[in-house]
């Protein structure tokens, strides 16, 4: 089995430069957060241009392999956002997501990825302002964190 480079990111993180524009991939659920994002958009709220939304039917279908792929292929961070606990259109999909993200966040540092680069939030369908705020806050956090360096994580 090929070895993974498991250096801690903190040691080699490049200093954040002012021109750094992070690429953030957001997996959002169709019922709550995607509609909230749509609302934030149609309500013309100021949003960071760094976030790309991928609409999923439910956060419960976000396979960890999507998250890992995004991080390995150049996303500086991944946001997962769904309905509030108890609000899931599909009864309990968001709980499944919560379990999965928690486990994944524990594993990520072992591969040299700061776990702050993975975030799970709940944003309800009418909370357009909340969505814009979440996205902007997260983008700012990732700007401070600097770009992800996944090239050295590649299988050699």
């Amino acid at each position: 089995m090929p070895e993974l480079n498991v250096m801690q990111e903190a040691q080699s993180a490049p200093t954040p430069d002012a021109g750094f524009e992070p690429a953030i991939v957001a997996f959002v659920c169709n019922w709550c957060t995607y509609t909230a994002a749509d609302l934030a958009g149609t309500a013309r709220m100021v949003q960071s241009p760094n976030v790309r939304l991928i609409r999923m039917m439910c956060t419960g279908m976000v396979d960890p392999k999507y998250i890992i792929k995004a991080l390995l292929d150049g996303a500086d961070a991944v946001l997962i956002s769904g309905c509030h606990p108890g609000d899931c259109h599909y009864i309990n999909g968001n709980y499944k997501a919560r379990r999965r993200v928690k486990l994944l966040a524990e594993i990520l540092p072992r591969f040299g990825i700061d776990k702050r680069r993975l975030k799970l939030t709940w944003v309800g369908a009418s909370e357009g302002n909340e969505f814009a705020a979440t996205v902007n806050r997260f983008a700012a956090e990732i700007k401070d964190l600097g770009p992800i360096d996944t090239r050295r994580l590649r299988v050699r």
């Binding site: 749509d38 100021v46 241009p49 279908m61 369908a125 357009g128 302002n129």
Partner: protein, 1168 residues
């Protein structure tokens, strides 16, 4: 030709939406109207609902044929193929008979062209008007050009003409000329002024110069009429009442003869008011006070012009009408007798209505969700709720219970606790805590013991301003001690009131109102109004919570649907052909990309030439076309032409507001015979709006990236045709032949479908056969006899008595059930839908001397003995009643709904027969919800004594000489009392029949108390999670006869929804299994929340029931082999989207190296 609809639904709140959906899903065309400019009714303002403290409204959306309706948050609006929505529209007249009503609607213009408005908000920025914001319940202000609801989909600004100053600033500010102030029409708006007033003749042309109306002046009525008869196209007549009274009247009459409907405005001085009132009755439109003032008269005339040229009248032909105009919250400030003063409402910023408090909790509210006092911004930590403000108040003509406020207050208290992480102290002052639903008592217990909400059974007598802006509340507590407490805020639990427009609507629809102003319905025909063919849905007939409203709405839909059948309404009986789509699975992808480039913001912020060239080189894209104004019909026509030329097998549209376009994709799909699942709409406009200072290149990149992602997804879409639809067996099975079962069977049979009714006993009727009277004075015995006769004579109903269900297999549309009869015959039935109406029984009582002493009866026994005369009220010396006998207490912790009503019914009958009879009622909370409150008031007036007890301090019963002796603590006296009645009646409540076997046979759940567990307490009250099986009556929840009938009718309509289809097809997003990859580990079976997956042992494969599958994709995430696939979200698609999302622009500085292993050609193309 008039537009024809199966039904007209008035009111687009949840009640109206449920009714409309219930009818639309059976293929009826429905017109849904609302007087407001937005959908959703009061629920748009409420973010959380009890008892889940969450929303979940989207669960109400259709589960089969999902692609015919919207698939997003329902609070933000919806669409359905068969529903036409008219907002800002009222019903003005309803003529004709059931099956062929002629409805006249008046649609008020919003003066904003929705096809032009881009919701930029510039109009609101410049508007100088400030009026209270209705959406935030009056907290905060809005402008006259405003968004009615901030979170609607297809959200356009509207101009509130009533509050508009006519300054025209919004018109000047609008970048897309969406605000239409009718400049062209002004030139043709001839105004005739009949006045001898020279001053007026001189000043008016000067004043109205900007308005640009052609003015014509005459000094006498004769001359004016001459102008009219010459053919001058006068649109408005200003008639000065300083003319002779007779001349004015003659002019008016003659003018209206010449031009029926001509708008006439009277110019009347203070001395002419009486004459003006007379002429208004004759048809004049309004009055302007003389002498005219420029500042008021000119805007009024301008507004009148705007209304006259903009508002439209619509004529519809409809088969049936459903009224669902909902309710309004009581406003303490509007009551003249000073209750606002006593409550300090409007005077103290800490006194709020429950609706205002709800807005404070909302993230879209005035404080953006932080719980602070309006005014001084103090965080709210000590909050009190005061129940029954505007309800249960005879002085306010509200001798009814609003039924919802108790639960709303508990919810708000829980939310306040959650919001402040338990810091807030919540106190509820109440008279009776009416937790009368099946699950609501547990909710209250959770609030009380779990969350620490304090419940105080007291009515504060004084509410005074306290120190530091707080409130001082004085009350006498349970033990009679005077208490004073300080609170940060007092929330008034305001009751329900009929909507303000009720009188007008009732007149237009021709229905009667009850004494409380709600729509009059009869207790045993609760979905019907006084007019045949007109039904009441939602909370229109009686205040109700969401669950009640939806059940009522379903029942109304059933009534309307049946009416359309019976009277052969305008419904086209030939079913619409399912669209046929070409199989493109063997073709290489050909993507047509259409970009809507008409909006100025896009041109300004995006390099469209670069965007186009970038898009053209994406894989599979055969053409990038410009489609100006994709939001209009012309735009779509252009798109269709373009598509017909290019013959694409994928279509990607870049426009604004994707949700708006989804319904149009279906039309386009039909035109191109291309499955809409192979089309997508991307919002490319939002990115161009957001944020100041963002560079054009950044915005162009973002837009290109969004389009690239969508293109990647489309490219990977599975083009193979969908699975075959399930054919439907057009027959229903109803289990249980009681009131609910028979009502449901009739509801289905009357609509032309076969029903098999299975009853365990040897005769029909069930529990309701034991009743002898109802609280409202109906005759239940005759009602039940009639119903049984109708059921037995109905040719569509086959009754199997003395029979039981022994086996059931299958799924919605196709069940196979075996029923065994008493004679040992087994019938196997194919049916498309199942209704479980197995009912309940009176709880057996063995305590308090029942079954031991003859003087102890249950309420039902007392009712029967009063009816047959074996209990003679005249010979009794006293009667005691004990309520909540082992109800509302573990293990039966629910309110039985019927006991308080039965007790009141028996009490009133006893008192009627023997007015001097002493009656004592020991109770915890009297649950006389809704209009039954009237009987509680009446009972107290008869002199009956009501004594409250607590679960800790129950009345003690002993027997002396075979007579009961009751010892209890009287909280009013503060002492123990002893009662020696001749008769003791126990309210033992109801229990569901034991159906554990049946529930297992049909694969449905039960609550801890043994009632059926519906799919969702609020939003799907008669459905099971297992599709195609429905529940109603007493087996579902404790219910009065009225409620049992309603739930039965609602369930019947849900069943008809399935039976009306020839076959059932699923939605586009549905899971499939790749059997070659599947290892049969079974993880997907356990993870599926809908039980849609199973292991087929015969074939050794996992099967998916595509009816049950709702497309959540849980199975896909859990599958270790990627053997399960969700259509539209295949791994390949998601992976390609991720690649497109992280792809960097061609000359990017931090370009990530494309990974040769995982990235397909996509990023390279994106990168140019």
């Amino acid at each position: 030709m008039k537009k024809q609809y199966g039904a007209l639904v008035v009111g687009a709140g949840i009640g109206g939406m449920r009714s409309a959906l219930d009818l639309a899903e059976t293929g009826q065309k429905v017109a849904l109207i609302d007087a407001r400019p937005s959908m959703g009714g009061i629920l748009t303002q409420l973010d959380h609902q009890f008892p889940s403290d969450h929303c979940g409204m989207c669960k109400m959306l259709p589960l089969t044929q999902r692609d015919q309706s919207s698939q997003y948050c329902l609070r933000k609006g919806f669409f359905h193929k068969n529903i036409d929505i008219y907002l800002h529209t009222e019903l003005t007249a309803l003529e004709g008979d059931p099956g062929k009503f002629h409805a006249t609607l008046s649609r008020r213009s919003t003066f904003v062209d929705p096809t032009r408005c881009v919701s930029c908000g510039l109009c609101a920025e410049v508007c100088p008007v400030r009026v209270p914001n209705e959406f935030n319940a009056g907290l905060g202000q809005r402008t006259a050009a405003y968004l009615p609801v901030p979170h609607n989909i297809a959200n356009h600004y509207v101009v509130d003409l009533d509050n508009c100053l006519r300054c025209w600033r919004c018109f000047e500010a609008c970048p897309t000329q969406a605000i239409d102030f009718k400049f062209k029409e002004r030139e043709d708006f001839h105004v005739l002024v009949v006045s001898a007033d020279e001053e007026l003749t001189r000043t008016l042309p000067e004043w109205l110069k900007k308005e640009n109306f052609p003015l014509h002046f005459t000094t006498s009525g004769e001359d004016g009429l001459a102008l009219l008869s010459e053919g001058l196209d006068v649109k408005l007549l200003l008639l000065d009442l300083d003319l002779h009274a007779a001349e004015a009247e003659r002019t008016l009459r003659r003018a209206l003869e010449l031009r029926p409907g001509l708008a006439i405005v009277l110019l009347a001085g203070p001395d002419k008011q009486d004459a003006a009132a007379e002429l208004l009755k004759l048809g004049a439109r309004e009055t302007l006070a003389k002498p005219l003032e420029r500042a008021t008269a000119v805007p009024r005339l301008d507004k009148l012009f705007m209304r006259l040229v903009s508002d439209e009248a619509l004529d519809l032909e409809v088969g049936a009408v459903i009224l669902a105009a909902g309710f309004e919250c009581f406003n303490p400030a509007e009551v003249p007798c000073g209750s606002a003063d006593l409550l300090l409402y409007g005077q103290h910023p800490g006194v709020l209505t429950s609706l205002e408090f709800e807005r404070l909790l909302s993230s879209t509210g005035p404080s953006a969700g932080s719980l602070v006092r309006p005014g001084d911004g103090k965080p709210l930590r000590r909050i009190a709720w005061l129940q029954c403000v505007g309800s249960r108040d005879v002085k306010l003509k509200a001798d009814f219970c609003s039924s919802i406020c108790c639960m709303i207050s508990i919810k708000e208290a829980m939310l306040a606790k959650r919001h402040t992480r338990g810091e807030a102290e919540a106190t509820i002052f109440y008279m009776d805590m009416r937790t009368s639903g099946r699950d609501y008592q547990r909710y209250r217990d959770e609030a009380e013991t779990g969350a620490g909400v304090r419940f105080v059974p007291a009515r504060p007598h004084s509410i005074l301003p306290g120190p530091e802006g707080d409130l001082l509340i004085q009350y006498y507590d349970y033990s009679g001690e005077l208490k004073e407490e300080i609170f940060d805020a007092l929330v008034l639990a305001v009751g329900a009131r009929p909507p303000k427009s009720m009188a007008r609507l009732a007149l237009a629809a021709g229905v009667d109102l009850n004494e409380s102003g709600f729509c009059a319905t009869r207790p045993l025909a609760p979905n019907r109004t006084s007019r045949l063919g007109v039904f009441a849905a939602g909370a229109f007939g009686e205040p109700a919570d969401i669950r009640g409203s939806l059940i009522q709405a379903g029942a109304a839909a059933m009534g309307a649907s049946r009416m359309m059948r019976v009277y052969h309404g305008p419904r086209d009986e030939t079913p619409e052909a399912e669209p046929k789509y070409t199989d493109v699975s063997r073709e290489a992808p050909r993507v047509l990309m259409a970009l809507c480039t008409s909006c100025p913001t896009l041109e300004r912020n995006v390099d469209t030439a670069l965007l186009r060239s970038r898009m053209a080189v994406l894989p599979g894209v055969v053409r990038v076309a410009d489609v100006p104004r994709a939001c209009t019909r012309e735009g779509w026509e252009l798109l269709r032409q373009e598509a017909e030329a290019v013959k694409p097998n994928r279509v990607l549209i870049g426009a604004c507001m994707p949700y708006m376009h989804v319904p149009r994709l279906r039309d386009l799909g039909e035109a191109l015979s291309l499955n809409p699942a192979l089309m997508d709409v991307v919002d490319i406009h939002t990115a161009t709006f957001a944020g100041a200072g963002a560079e054009k290149t950044v915005r162009t990149e973002e837009t290109a990236s969004l389009l690239g992602m969508a293109a990647a997804k489309l490219l990977g879409a599975d083009p193979s045709p969908q699975a075959q639809a399930t054919p439907v067996a057009p027959q229903a099975l109803v289990v249980g032949g009681g009131l609910a079962g028979m009502t449901a069977a009739m509801g289905i049979a009357d609509q032309g479908y076969k029903v098999v009714l299975v009853e365990e006993l040897e005769q029909l009727g069930g529990l309701a056969m034991n009743l002898r009277a109802t609280l409202e004075g109906d005759d239940p015995v005759r009602f039940m006899e009639d119903l049984i006769e109708q059921v037995e004579k109905n040719p569509n109903i086959r009754v199997l008595k003395d029979s039981r269900v022994v086996l059931s297999r299958g799924r919605a549309g196709r069940f196979l059930t075996v029923v065994a009869t008493g004679e040992g015959v087994a019938h196997s039935l194919h049916h498309g839908a199942t209704i479980l109406a197995t009912g309940g029984h009176e709880t057996k009582v063995y305590e308090y001397g029942n079954r031991v002493h003859k003087c102890v009866l249950t309420q039902m026994e007392l009712e029967q003995r009063l009816a047959d005369g074996s209990v003679d009220a005249a010979r009794l010396g006293g009667v005691a009643m004990i309520q909540c006998w082992r109800s509302r207490d573990e293990s039966r912790n629910y309110c039985s709904r019927v006991c308080c009503q039965s007790a009141l019914k028996n009490l009133l009958l006893l008192k009627k027969r023997n007015p001097g009879l002493p009656v004592f009622v020991f109770y915890r909370d009297i649950m006389s919800t809704g209009f039954s409150e009237r009987f509680y008031t009446e009972a107290r007036r008869t002199g009956a004594v009501f004594i409250r007890y607590t679960p800790e301090n129950r009345p003690k019963v002993t027997f002396v000489d075979d007579k009961p002796v009751i010892v209890a603590l009287d909280p009013v006296l503060g002492a123990e009392i002893e009662v020696h009645p001749d008769l003791l009646a126990l309210s033992s409540g109801v229990e569901p029949n034991d159906v554990s076997e049946l529930a297992e046979l049909f694969g449905v759940g039960l609550t801890p108390d043994g009632f059926y567990q519906e799919a969702e307490n609020k939003w799907r009250p008669v459905d099971f999670l297992k599709h195609g099986v429905f529940a109603c009556g007493l087996g579902l929840a404790p219910a009065t006869m009225r409620e049992a009938i309603l739930s039965a009718k609602a369930a019947a309509q849900r069943a008809v929804r399935i039976l009306s289809e020839k076959s059932l097809s699923c939605g586009n997003a549905v899971a499939e299994v790749r059997h070659s990859l599947c290892s049969r580990c079974g993880r997907c079976i356990t993870v599926c929340p809908y039980g849609a997956r199973s292991l087929d042992l015969a074939r050794d494969s996992i099967t998916v029931d595509e009816q049950l599958c709702q497309g959540c994709g849980s199975c896909m995430a859990v599958c270790p082999n990627s053997a399960t696939v969700l259509r539209g979200f295949r791994d390949e698609q998601v992976m390609a989207m991720i690649d497109a999302a992280v792809a960097r622009p061609p000359h990017g500085t931090q370009g990530a190296e494309p990974n040769p292993q995982s990235a397909p050609a996509q990023p390279a193309h994106m990168g140019g």
